[in-house]
Symmetry: C2
Subunit: 255 residues, 2 copies
């Protein structure tokens, strides 16, 4: 099984073509958090099955696979969740001051009722007993595994033409009540899913001037926090080049 000729050719991953890599990067760079562009068209069961399978093949601590999936299509259930969003969102608005509060109120932050499918991805903290390989020193690892499943599903959805929005302005206990989720099970993500009229070119919060994209080269440290890599590391030049290519409207894939 060992490749007899390690070297630069490893950069051409065995089994992965340029086209494969381009497809992956396209999904990564064109994925959006969708709130307002949902269409009512039903999501085919075969497509949803592929998305759930993608989630199920996420990494998980101790191969725990702690996730479950609550598929919500009943308008009455969506309405209850939406009601909780409205209450939470009003509380959230009051946390901001002045102009920021007004800007907050103008943002559209969910598509719970419009999206044909809502999906709650949960984490059963007891799924593999009290002692879990790899969770002994970082007890949140099972929650993190569940988030990996969310991201797999999100990318697969983008490649299938489905928008996904993660609604986090909810009271988790209330969501647990609405969906009848047991105490030991954490509702990690509440997602809205559906086909969309279009995908936005940039994140909505970036376009709305809420926050800007940070310069990636300033987020990289070498061998310790604040380490500059001994002058001018080539890596930072490469990062600036990839980011510049993307800002310049170049190919969606930076590869």
């Amino acid at each position: 099984m060992t490749d007899p000729s390690p070297g630069p050719e490893h950069a051409k991953a065995p089994g992965f073509s340029e086209a494969d890599r381009a497809g992956l990067y396209k999904a990564i760079f064109n994925r959006r958090d969708v709130r307002g562009q949902f269409l009512p068209d039903p999501v085919p069961e075969a497509v949803l099955a592929r998305l759930l399978t993608a989630a199920h093949f996420a990494p998980s601590v101790g191969f725990m696979q702690p996730w479950s999936f609550v598929v919500v299509t009943d308008p009455a259930v969506k309405a209850r969740v939406h009601g909780d969003f409205e209450a939470a969102n009003e509380e959230a608005a009051l946390r901001f001051e002045g102009a920021r509060r007004e800007a907050y109120r103008k943002l559209r932050l969910q598509g719970i009722r419009e999206a044909p499918v809502n999906l709650c991805i949960t984490c059963d903290r007891d799924r593999a007993g009290p002692v879990v390989l790899g969770r002994t020193h970082i007890p949140t690892m099972d929650l993190y595994s569940t988030v990996c499943a969310v991201q797999n599903l999100w990318l697969a959805a983008r490649a299938e033409g489905l928008g996904v929005g993660w609604v986090s302005i909810l009271h988790p206990r209330r969501l647990q009540d609405i969906l009848g989720i047991p105490q030991r099970v954490v509702p990690v993500a509440y997602l809205c899913l559906g086909f969309v009229s279009h995908f936005l070119d940039r994140p909505e919060l970036e376009s709305a001037g809420w926050r800007t994209r940070l310069p990636l080269d300033q987020l990289i440290h070498f061998d310790g926090w604040g380490g500059d890599g001994g002058g001018a590391p080539t890596l930072l030049d490469e990062v600036r080049q990839v980011m510049a290519d993307m800002e310049g409207g170049g190919p969606a894939s930076p590869g």
Copy 2:
């Protein structure tokens, strides 16, 4: 911008070809948590730059982009992290009983010193001030955003032929000390990265008999926990079919 003809053709995502989708699914289904197959070959800076860019384009709550990246190549730093792993791993082994403890001790759980690059992905809880859009009701959302960045990077690495292993058997405070990470910044993931001799067909913990792959169709609920979708939902048949195709050694992509 609105697509004038909503309908089944949306399943063919605009801009995404069958080949694009296949590339994404291939990365998702062939990604592994790598511990023992690292090669010493250096990781080209251009490849590492693409991986970090993939991480930087993860979704983040309130467009917070809370992540930073500590790239570790210094053998002395790796040795200190490895020392902490050994201490934590001994504590972890004692949490298991009897045969399970013996089985645990036989597992290889990290490649800290062998992997040419170690990468700590962190979350700065203060990056966007105390009140963050979308984090008002679920305070861990910024940690979850950081995990999305980890998963983006992990998938991109797989497509570039690089193995990634997430080492979670560490004392987070000790890791913070070793890398000089400020108190407000959480080291979410410590990853080992490098080219590999080969990728395993299945997760190591599955092959070793530690745990089995769960049947996905039993993890799906409809409109509430325990909801059976009113009999025999087509979705479950579709899920069983996708899973059966994969078990049958079919195409890596279920699409």
